[in-house]
């Protein structure tokens, strides 16, 4: 999986060949391009930043500039196999609404996000008394786009509240997949959801 970060590789691993994908917050389209070239995926994307959209379209991808909070409404129900939200949930204005949109548009939703419950984050707050700056959350509090950070247990609780079913889950500590104690040990979580 050359060219993809370990986190995006973990997302890509959830998606079978020849499926259809909507990548919400697709950046410059690197995941969609990889899925197209390696898994013959029929991909679409939505991205807020015009420069990133232009880069994605220049790659030949069907990406529209738009805001996930407002512009997902136009996508028809159950119109793709997978709706992907990777590294974007924590930057959403209304994460719960976006999650509901994902499972409305996709038969399955793949949501991947940094875990604010990771021990390094907890240590930062506990001992330094400062907002955490860690390898998976490298930006300081006043510069970060992340306005709705959550822990893995927070996410599970929200999924339950919204009546979403967790089909699969996967965790990373750095670049290493892990299984046990994810809310403490994983700095990154991935959930496959359905409604």
């Amino acid at each position: 999986m050359n060219g993809l970060s370990v986190r995006l590789q973990q997302v890509a691993a959830q998606i079978p060949e020849h499926s259809s994908v909507l990548d919400v917050g697709c950046s410059d389209g690197r995941l969609l391009a990889w899925l197209r070239d390696n898994k013959s995926v029929d991909g679409r994307g939505i991205e807020l930043d015009a420069v990133r959209v232009a880069a994605a379209v220049t790659r030949g991808l069907s990406v529209v500039q738009g805001d996930a909070t407002r512009d997902l409404a136009a996508f028809p129900d159950q119109s793709v196999d997978f709706a992907v939200l990777s590294e974007t949930l924590q930057a959403m204005e209304a994460p719960a609404r976006v999650l509901q949109e994902l499972v409305r548009i996709g038969r399955l939703a793949v949501v991947a996000f940094p875990n604010f419950g990771h021990w390094r984050v907890r240590m930062n707050l506990l001992f330094a008394g400062r907002m955490p700056v860690t390898p998976s959350l490298p930006t300081s509090w006043h510069e970060t786009e992340n306005i709705h950070l959550c822990t893995i247990d927070d996410f599970r609780a929200l999924a339950a509240e919204l009546g979403l079913r967790i089909e699969r889950e996967a965790y990373l500590a750095g670049e290493t997949p892990i299984g046990a104690w994810p809310n403490l040990l994983a700095d990154h979580g991935l959930f496959v959801l359905s409604r």
Binding site: R44, A50, V51, V53, A54, A56, V57, T58, R59, G60, L61, S62, V63, V64, Q65, G66, D71, A74, F75, P76, S79
Partner: protein, 371 residues
Amino acid sequence: MPSSVTHQQLRLDADLPLDSGLVLPRPVIAYETLGALDEAKSNAILICHALTGDQYVASTHPMTGKPGWWKRMVGPGKPIDPERHFIICSNVVGGCMGSEGPASPHPEDGRPWGLRFPVITIADMVRAQAALLDGLGIGALLAVVGGSMGGMQALQWAASFPDRICSVVAIASAARHSAQNIAFHEVGRQAIMADPRWQGGAYAAGCGPVNGLAVARMAAHITYLSEEGLTAKFGRQLQGRTDKSFGFDADFQVESYLRHQGMSFVDRFDANSYLYITRAMDYFDLADPFAGLLAPVFANCKARFCIVSFDSDWLYPTVESKRIVQALVAAGRHASFVELSSPFGHDAFLLDPPGLTGVIDGFLKAVEQRG
């Protein structure tokens, strides 16, 4: 207008039915081509021109001697490349650069059609283009591409001939004319019709309402620019003088510029054509047959779409492009959309704003590779 110029033309071998219910008897369509059609006839790209454009998209204009109007997009090594593509651009029906229009001779008496010419629509223009392609032996188009009114035609292709196109590129365009768009056009038309030389449209060749047409062009030209662009280019600078004249000469550079734009325009454009083509744009509303809903327009079109708007374009603002994109998304189509940044207003599509050629190049190559 000099009549000595000859254009490449084709007289359609059938009458052209019009949206108005009238019929244009075997109209002549003027066109230019670049490149060569490949054996599979799969590399044809139709370029649709804007209101005052013409078929000289990348070849030297026979009247003005100027280079083609879209050399930044069309040419060797450009996104639309005669080495890869067979490029067709035709003058719209109703135009004045060799296609049948109000200045053409009426088939019965040989005098100019004038206002006897039937009112045409964007869909009529597209029907004429399709008939031209029939005449040239071209079935399907790899892409239909246009900016402004050209983008309207490109979108109309998706509605009128969904099975004949693989992709649509609509830049700085809209799926309908807004009240503001119509209002500006009406100002231009009234300027033409208020010129005594207009004579109810029955002026003789070379004796047209040039003053009215120049004013129409001046007013329209402002709408193609942005306040930021005008300020950057002219500010309040005076033209060829150090102080105000306390009169009504073109004291300011921006006045002088607009007067020049107006006067050079009348050398190459027919006033009645201006009336007809602006009317066609005003009548344009793709959603009209579907009670105002745009998504059903694209229900039967499998083409890929590339929609581009510019942040300083207030004539066809981003919100109109987004409306098209939402309809395409709702119809399940493959769509790309980006709002590019440019200080040049609506005219940005004719210039080279950062990102535009890359976006169009990437889009067209993806269509070529994946169909």
